[in-house]
């Protein structure tokens, strides 16, 4: 019982990182209107930006998160310029292929620049563990897990406020819903799409370093698997609904970790992708109800 409970906690923690990834992913797809396959590498760049803060400045978590956001934000600009800007009216597969190319380029470039080996990320958050008694079994909550969950909630709340309360938020949402109408409102659609892409990438970067801290390591090839998971989670939200994508991420995290209870840790990915396949078979439009869309 205690084991299942602890796995559930691990699932929630990991799920909240996935949720953050999925949030970033659905912001990109929503605002830019095109799917990206370079997201895993964006996360990796974010993770490395933070890693070098740990190396050269010390274990300063807020600064590292800022660096992760900034690093991946900048990569977001590059990706936008190379993969999207010219191809808004082109067939969709062109920008998609471009992102795949960028993904390979970044992954290999990173192995040259940062080195191919896995790098340790240790003691960023102290190893403290709280033991809580729940129904007679012990739940071990690590301080790290609390930090991650709280951080994800704070970031998600900040993004929600940004989207609903600010002028830029309304611009981003308008562009994600109808680009032509946005032009007619005098919105600079291209610059707004760039901003959306960069914010989404920034969130991916933060998710990247959180994964690094959670698994105590970063590497140039860490992105690929997570890119697919971010994609899987966003599929739940129909790729563009932020809340449901976040929920999707959380579900995948929990399903993975509970699945391990009954099998072995090496089967982790099977559960995530089996979940994706099931969703695609039974609810390909995601879990969003389309009540608001009668146009």
């Amino acid at each position: 019982m205690g084991y299942i409970l602890n796995q559930l906690l691990n699932g929630i923690c990991q799920g909240s990182i996935y949720a953050l990834m999925a949030i970033g992913y659905s912001v990109i797809v929503g605002v830019v209107g095109m799917v990206t396959f370079a997201y895993g590498e964006v996360m990796m760049i974010g993770a490395f930006s933070a890693y070098y803060i740990f190396i050269y400045v010390g274990n300063n978590l807020p600064l590292a998160i800022l660096a992760a956001f900034a690093g991946s934000f900048i990569i977001g600009i590059v990706i936008y310029k190379l993969c999207y800007e010219r191809f808004f009216t082109a067939p969709r597969h062109i920008s998609l292929l471009c992102t795949i190319g960028i993904s390979m380029l970044l992954k290999n470039l990173a192995q040259i620049v940062f080195g191919p080996e896995t790098k340790p990320v240790l003691n960023v958050v102290s190893n403290k563990t709280f033991n809580i008694n729940v129904f007679g079994s012990t739940l071990n909550i690590r301080l790290l897990q609390i930090v991650i969950i709280v951080l994800v909630i704070v970031l998600a709340a900040a993004l929600t406020l940004f989207f609903n309360r600010t002028k830029y938020g309304i611009m981003l949402r308008a562009v994600s819903q109808n680009k032509d109408a946005s032009y007619l409102m005098g919105i600079n659609v291209k610059r707004t799409a760039l901003l959306g892409n960069c914010i989404g990438c920034g969130f991916g970067g933060i998710a990247g370093i959180l994964l690094g801290i959670y698994y105590f390591s970063v590497s140039a090839t860490m992105g690929s698997a997570y890119s697919m998971k971010a994609f899987a989670a966003s599929v739940l939200g129909g790729l563009v609904d932020i809340r449901f994508s976040a929920l999707g991420g959380l579900c995948i995290g929990i399903i993975e970790n509970l699945g391990i209870v009954f099998t072995a840790a090496t089967f982790r990915d099977i559960f995530a992708f089996a979940f994706l396949i099931l969703v695609l078979i039974f609810r390909p439009q995601g879990f969003v109800s389309k009540k608001g869309a009668r146009v």
């Binding site: 308008a174 032509d180 032009y183 409102m185 600079n188 009668r294």
Partner: protein
Amino acid sequence: MADTILKVENLSVNYGYIVALQNVNLEIKKGEIVTLIGSNGAGKTTTLMAISGLVEKRHGSKVTFKGQDITKMAANKIVHMGMCHVPEGRKIFPSLSVYENLRAGALGNKNMTKARFAELIEEQYALFPRLKERSKQAGGSLSGGEQQMLAIARGLMMDPEIVMLDEPSLGLAPIVIEDIFELIVKIRDMGRTILLIEQNASVALSIADRGYVMEIGKITMEGTGKELLTNPEVKKAYLGG
């Protein structure tokens, strides 16, 4: 006569090899309601899209707005000059609330102040009381007529000098159409210029000061609203005999 606010000269547009517009000339004076009528596929919507910079114009076309050449200007910059285009099919933002839709409309005006924004919101709510009742509802949940009103109100939020309406009667019940056209006259009386595109020629011509008739990418007739309403050719082609 008042000053010309919008002048379109030799406007031509191609879609690939297909000629959509050929040497269209329009002139709209301040404070007028001008209507452009014509059947399906005549190029009315293309004309509007070309004016507001959404489609590419062929070499030799010239569009002047408030004395400034806007032929090659980007769509969003044209909006900043005070030109509002309410698109065909409304194109409101379905999951933004009514209020947020209006707020999005105001983004097009760089000189918007908070006070002016509040004034404009009140102005829209006075013109369209239904929108006030539903200000928190998602735009996509409104009925067709309400969505059309929202689309017009959203356009007016940028405090434009000219309002270009593309088929505001499309898909609406006759009684709602009447409401909308009354509002269009009201909007003109508030000091704005209106370019109205319609298939519903009789209603459009009855409120218009002047009208243009468009056929297969060309302007074939022009005159005052009354002249066109009584013109036998127009009667036969667009008013059902």
